[in-house]
């Protein structure tokens, strides 16, 4: 076994000492990847991973550097950008990616991407009618 493989195994064992638990956290993340358009109940995801909600939050952050709620929001905002680039109206995009409120969607979008959905859409599309807000 060479140096790199030794290091991979050493770091893996140190950072993720319970591979089965890591697998469940990965499955939870993949569940969010598949189901983000609808309501996502993080408590029930924690239950499916067979850990308490507090433990789940801590483990998810350890694995992905952010809370599951933050991850869910980011997945939704990345998909929102993609849909805006296809020309969909902002209000439709909001609902399509799982947000209940257009105003909170716009606020989160601007904080994440640095521009409002309509401004970013215009910039991406460059041509076509401006999105009314």
């Amino acid at each position: 076994m060479d140096f790199y493989e030794q290091e991979v195994r050493r770091l893996g064992a140190m950072l993720y000492p319970r591979p089965e638990l890591s697998r469940r956290i990965v499955q939870a993340k993949e569940y969010i990847d598949r189901q983000f358009q609808g309501p996502v109940d993080l408590s029930s995801i924690a239950g499916k991973a067979f850990v308490s909600k507090f433990h789940f939050l801590r483990l998810f952050k350890q694995h992905y550097g952010m809370t599951p709620h933050r991850y869910l929001t980011e997945v939704r905002l990345r998909e929102a950008r993609r849909l805006l680039a296809e020309g969909l109206p902002v209000s439709q995009v909001c609902g399509a990616v799982g947000f209940d409120s257009v105003s909170s969607f716009k606020g989160l979008f601007k904080r994440y991407w640095g521009r409002t959905p309509s401004t970013l859409k215009k910039a991406i599309l460059k041509t076509g009618p401006a999105e009314k807000e």
Partner: protein, 119 residues
């Protein structure tokens, strides 16, 4: 860095699926880059010839230690592993879970190990 640009171009295009972007003659070698077919105007990977002895020593040290020169994200590492094996690529490390990631390492035949990963 690669020890044979022609061989490297074949591997990076035919096995890994990159497409040639630039091939500008520069004496004995070329300024040779490849890009992802999904982003032809995106990041270019330079297949630089080993023309500097300290670079050769550095490359060999990385290779002997098993350290990948670079790594690429893939959507399905098991599928990519099977596909590359089918093309004759030899893996040093099969897909191995490391927390949220699964990684695998193989040789490019030009003096480097490469790593693919799925998150």
């Amino acid at each position: 860095m690669v020890d044979d640009q022609k061989k490297a171009l074949r591997f990076y295009t035919e096995a890994l699926g990159f497409i040639k972007k630039r091939d500008i003659p520069m004496g004995e070698h070329s300024w040779l880059t490849v890009v992802s077919p999904q982003e032809p105007d995106g990041t270019e990977l330079l297949l630089e010839p080993l023309g500097f002895e300290p670079a050769r020593i550095f490359q060999k040290a990385l290779f002997d230690a098993g350290i990948p020169a670079t790594m690429f994200k893939v959507e399905d590492i098991q599928e990519e592993y099977r596909r590359l094996q089918g093309l004759g690529v030899v893996f040093k490390m099969p897909p191995t879970q490391m927390g949220p990631s699964t990684i695998a390492t193989f040789a490019d035949g030009c003096g480097n190990y490469l790593q693919i990963f799925q998150v």
